[in-house]
């Protein structure tokens, strides 16, 4: 979908006028619409799909929350705003937005309470030994690298993955609750509707948009502002070529059909700045079940490059971006378990040397890697990468095997993290950090809390965070008494 910029002036006549136009109905769009309704605004939501949900509905329904939420308390896990803040600051990658992270953490307990108040179900039970969305309807999970080096020494670990109580596609459950709530408000929901142009005044302010539905165009004025919540751009090959070509090599792009970056382009065309369009989340979920974290992930030089017990979002980023997706998980007969997600053994050997030959690795390299790991593991240590004790099992029991984790042959799941530049109020900024009046953004169409080193739940979390009343788009809702004294 291509976008346009249209000129607006005093004399522009729109087909309709609303206070707030929300473009996109995933978690961010639902939250923006509900907030605006709560503040008394008239709201139109334009969603290009036939119903609400977006990529949020395709997710595992895990939301990254903490600081002592009701669910954390019910499950017996103490947490603090400061620990959550320190973990995120250390883990979410170079170029993180400290102000956004601070507010996200400070508002997290209220954010959880708001979700519960909307009717989003969470079960007060903890599921251990699984990363990301649990296979059950349990409520609390580890969804990041909180327990592992170096983060465990930086911030007191706590599980912060808040999983919506629904086995399987819990993201769908989350979105059906939020969309049901929204359907009971006066908000107009317009499905099968794309926004393909913004109206801009000579002073730069955004005052409306052009919508298109079943071949019909509708020109809508938005007195309070337009909120872009259209998601990322992982399905747009041209944008990936321009900003992050490596993402195209991943086998699984996590996105609903609409994630072609149209909202980001709408913003850029009216002079918006961007942040981190080159940042992606890459998951390599080869260490499920966790038992497989005892394996050694090695590159074509037979060398390890990371503590294998990190969250799979961090594993994938290092494997793809630092090792070009050329990695294998080395196991022995003791720790081998069939991995989930179709990962397969691609080489075996009775000795490390035989395995290395079968894999085509240089003589001596893998053998040295295993020998050094084993020697230290016997002392309960991993001085190279500081993997934790439960996974420090010397690999000694033949046969030895290599699980294929190359980007060509295995599952790398990817989505984009960068987008429009926004401040903590959700206002879109130009390349010099000035506010573009009337333009707001939230969710994956913007650059949010995570710019790398992914922990699950941060996308849903930042998408919905604005409803906690802490930050996010609060388009100016015109006061009708002032604007129209004769009304």
């Amino acid at each position: 979908m291509k976008t346009d910029v249209l000129s607006a002036s005093e004399s522009t006549r729109f087909d309709d006028e609303v206070d707030v136009l929300v473009v996109g109905l995933g978690a961010a769009g639902a939250a923006a619409a509900l907030t605006a309704i709560e503040e008394g605004a008239s709201v139109l939501v334009a969603e290009r799909a036939g119903g609400g949900g977006g990529t949020s509905a395709m997710s595992g329904g895990v939301i990254y929350l903490g600081g002592g939420t009701g669910l954390q308390k019910a499950c017996g896990f103490p947490d603090s705003v400061e620990a959550m803040f320190r973990y995120l600051m250390a883990s979410v990658g170079h170029g993180m937005d400290e102000d956004k992270i601070r507010l996200y953490c400070e508002g997290s307990v209220a954010h959880y309470d708001w979700l519960v108040a909307q009717g989003v179900p969470f079960k007060a039970s903890f599921y251990d030994g699984y990363s990301g969305e649990p296979p059950t309807d349990d409520g609390l999970v580890w969804s990041g690298s909180e327990q592992v080096h170096p983060f465990c020494d930086i911030a007191e670990p706590a599980p912060r993955g808040h999983a919506v109580a629904f086995p399987g596609l819990a993201g769908h459950k989350l979105m059906s609750v939020l969309c049901d709530v929204l359907a009971q408000t006066p908000a107009e929901l317009s499905f099968n509707t794309v926004c393909n142009a913004l109206y801009r005044q000579a002073d730069g302010a955004i005052v409306g948009a052009r919508l298109r539905s079943f071949g019909q165009e509708r020109h809508v004025g938005a007195r309070g502002g337009v909120v872009i919540t259209t998601g990322g751009f992982i399905l747009n090959d041209e944008m990936l070529d321009a900003y992050h070509p490596e993402a195209k090599s991943c086998s699984l792009r996590i996105a609903a059909d609409g994630d072609d970056g149209s909202g980001i382009r709408l913003g850029m065309r009216v002079g918006a700045g961007t942040r981190h369009l080159d940042k992606i989340s890459v998951s390599l979920p080869v260490t499920q079940p966790w038992h497989l974290k005892s394996g050694l992930l090695v590159n074509p030089q037979g060398q390890r490059f990371i503590n294998e017990d990190v969250y799979y979002g961090r594993l994938g980023e290092h494997a793809l971006l630092h090792q070009e997706g050329q990695v294998w998980l080395i196991v022995d007969d003791e720790i081998y378990t069939k991995p989930e997600y179709g990962f397969e053994l691609c080489a075996v050997g009775e000795t490390p040397a035989e395995l290395a030959r079968d894999l085509g690795l240089p003589a001596g390299a893998l053998e040295a890697t295993i020998e050094i790991f084993n020697r230290h593991a016997e002392q309960g240590e991993d001085p190279l990468f500081h993997k934790r004790k439960p996974y420090l099992n010397p690999l000694t029991k033949p046969p030895f095997g290599a699980i294929d984790c190359t980007v060509k042959n295995s599952r790398y799941a990817v989505f984009t993290l960068g987008g429009l530049a926004t401040n903590v109020e959700g206002q879109v900024l130009d390349p010099e950090d000035r506010i573009i009046p009337g333009l707001y953004g939230a969710g994956r169409a913007t650059s949010g809390v995570s710019v790398g080193g992914y922990s699950s739940g941060l996308s849903l979390g930042t998408a919905a965070s604005l409803v906690a009343g802490q930050h996010g788009p609060h388009p100016r809702v015109p006061d009708r008494t002032d604007d129209h004294p004769s009304d």
Copy 2:
């Protein structure tokens, strides 16, 4: 410097009108201005410094050219357009622009001839054993990784660094020649002059700019177009925060004062697309003299991560971006030579184990790395990283030492590679690849041939390449006979 967008209409009256306004006078600005003059345009060049030169004048004056230039022939090095193309396609990083690279290579011989015709001096002599600009006035040098794995197997190697004949700051010589030629044309050169706004019509076309000089503003119409040649943004901390925070850790930012990205921001504010704002060139010149390529560059795990004989532009990129700038060059008494650029020994030991302890590396790791390297080097091989034979000397002669190559303590030289999106005609594109009428760009303000894996001379080369008549900004020069029949 902040930028603005101004509205232009039929009734806008400019203080002056020219055919072509060039913003910035480095190599790209000089080339753009000379080309426009040649085509009969009236030209105004606005340069914020007190004289011409820009970052180009601070460079080593090496230009990446090939395909069989006069200089290559005179020095006895055969080369072909196809070999140059294959090398660049393989080496310049993910997301390269194939069309630009193709035209750059096809136009390279003519490009060299044009430089010679302007009076840029090149001495027909080859200088070996040094990367980048030679310490002499010799003309031809290796300025990339053409001779090393994997590139030597992809394309027939040839030296392509064309060094301007001037010992020392040869970039200054290049620019003084080009500026002298320009001074003899009718072009108006306005120094101490910034461009802080573009004039845009309602239809999106750029028709002029606001210039500021000593507190005075001047509104200039540009009938044929505005050409942005303002350089990169390595001196703008806010832009680095937004696009590439890691760059800030480097000790040496290579840039003239004006490299604050003002031209990129001027473009973004009128809706231009960008390419690869996250890409940087990082040099780690620790392997000068080349003899030091026999050392082993290792990370905190005591592991090698690259063939140490690659060009230092590639070395620095891998060290900073994949190893977080935590690397050391391991040497023995046999190969040690005092490195240039202030690199220093930071640890020594009579054995590899002692050296590892002194460096604080995990027990056994560095020892294994050296042992594996030595074992293969004795056979003349490096199966891990394929370093070439002249540098495959087993490290056996004590004492052993580590040269500090950490980003904190040593020289990492950095500049930005991304910028405005342009087509091969130099026309600036919006985020959906549509031409923005009247806006052109060249040089480091745009994304050019290199988006990583740097070879020296590509910045000067792409900056000046437009003059080869192959590509680059050719603003439409209005035909006065048509426009003003009464003239």
